[in-house]
Symmetry: C2
Subunit: 351 residues, 2 copies
Amino acid sequence: MELADVGRVGGEWLKGTGPETDVVLSSRIRLARNVAGFPFATRCDDDQRAEILGRLKSAVEGVDLGGRRLFVDVSSAPALESRFLVERHLVSRELVMGKGPRGAAFGSEERLSLMVNEEDHLRLQSLHSGLDLEAAWEEARRVDRQLERIVPFATSTQYGYLTACPTNVGTGLRASVMLHLPALAYTKQMEKVFQSCSRTQLAVRGFYGEGTMAQGDFYQISNQVTLGASEEEILANLSRMLPTILEYEREIRRHLLKEKTRVRLEDKVHRALAVLRAARTVTSEEAMEMLSAVRLGVITGVIGSIGVPAVNELFVLVQPAHVQKLAKTELDSDERDQRRAALLRERLAAT
Amino acid sequence: MELADVGRVGGEWLKGTGPETDVVLSSRIRLARNVAGFPFATRCDDDQRAEILGRLKSAVEGVDLGGRRLFVDVSSAPALESRFLVERHLVSRELVMGKGPRGAAFGSEERLSLMVNEEDHLRLQSLHSGLDLEAAWEEARRVDRQLERIVPFATSTQYGYLTACPTNVGTGLRASVMLHLPALAYTKQMEKVFQSCSRTQLAVRGFYGEGTMAQGDFYQISNQVTLGASEEEILANLSRMLPTILEYEREIRRHLLKEKTRVRLEDKVHRALAVLRAARTVTSEEAMEMLSAVRLGVITGVIGSIGVPAVNELFVLVQPAHVQKLAKTELDSDERDQRRAALLRERLAAT
């Protein structure tokens, strides 16, 4: 990804388009695959890892990933570059933190991406704006089949696809949606969502997936079961649960807009926008928190002058590596907070 | 005071003029006097109190208080009206909370005011913008002498003026300055000021005088000794201490403007102004706190578009009774917070 692209090319999931975009930021399909005839990545030596990387890299050359095809040799990439890709949700922190030959490929539209030698030999991801798990699944399946014709994957007739961790065996499928739930968060009702998801075998995670905290009131909801159900059944189970959560969030939003509570909502939203437009130093955590309130304000019509895509984009642009890429230099923590504030003032300047 | 005057007529101490106005909001002289031949107010019955009130009221009719002369019968005044006068620093909370015949008089310029039947029969106050204890003292003395020619005051050849509380005996004089010390407060160095004042027999009090908290980083510094020293010596003692405190505050302000800390100051100031311009509900405490940062910003040049008098005025206009007077109706706490926010948005609208 070229420096020049940062902040101009928005990823698919920043578009703010697609169904249910008032609550659903993006839909994501992830497939875990391993190349037949090799040990799992954790048990490979570097020669084997290099061979796997080479085979998958050449296999992907024939595949349309949407836009220009980009490869990143993660083992040699500068730390800032790798963190930048993590912030764009194109690679995982685990891939960056890993060892030995490993890499990533993605299309410049940032809808399709794949990681080589993360936990599994191959992790394939398809990301769509709004709620559109079917489209994400269709696209992931297309790429999966194209690759499989060139690189045979490890399977078992009894279990299906074999994966390094038993929790992914079978379909190797993780379907997830990134939800923006500020109204539930403000009214401290997320606990109910956690309980509902737990009962239906869905997992709730933070902004950067497994093991991360919620930031900006974003929650990722995904299936936990990968075995004993078809891909379609897994998607159906997730899709069945979603309308309830979406309606719950919307109901509270409507309530917050009613006379008695409206002034509190307006106060919160306008203060958040004012702080982002005025501050001289802002941490990424505070920026996410304020942007969440602004996003809610835009969607509920409390703020009329800003669009959803502009706010969505800022959630990514305020991340530390993005701030540094835009500044074209490495920055310490204080410098980052000041640059972030300058970026927010510029992007959110009163129009 | 007429409803129509609120928010247009600013008191003397809101002017933002006079010497050392970057730190000193106002200089105040208060004289405690009692009418000869009557018990102290606490020991008077209502008939005696009424007689004292009558005599002082007629005596003051021949005295120039600056602008139109206004009388308030505090025993019959509506609660909102009385609180309004307290907020303008024209009468004390003690006078309002008292019993029996009692009243107040002041000139519409709000520089000279007097209270009848508070702790003493007469409390005379002269208030000047900036650091000008001499001018305040000259004016108080003029009114004191004019009144004394008509109403003889209780004195003792040994002690001087007799007062209800021994701490006021002698001169009956309290000289005080209202200081704005945001830089000392932000850097948590007020303790040093408290200690210095204590060593030189000066008292440090809050925004509404004795027994009140500091609000908006305003501190009132006054003499504690009234006996055994002439009025001039009391003023000289207070004046001797002030340059040190003023220079201390200014030194920290200069330090805050230096490169390393400047961004923190700018951040604090711009956030405060932004919140006041955007909020939909603001308590008076938060308003005072934010206005303090804005005042520091204006004085240090961080904010260029607002004048000191406009900010000084807001410190008074955001008080609860003022908000209600401007709204022309009594309001509950939530309504006040919303009206206050609307007032601040209107008054601080970006120019």
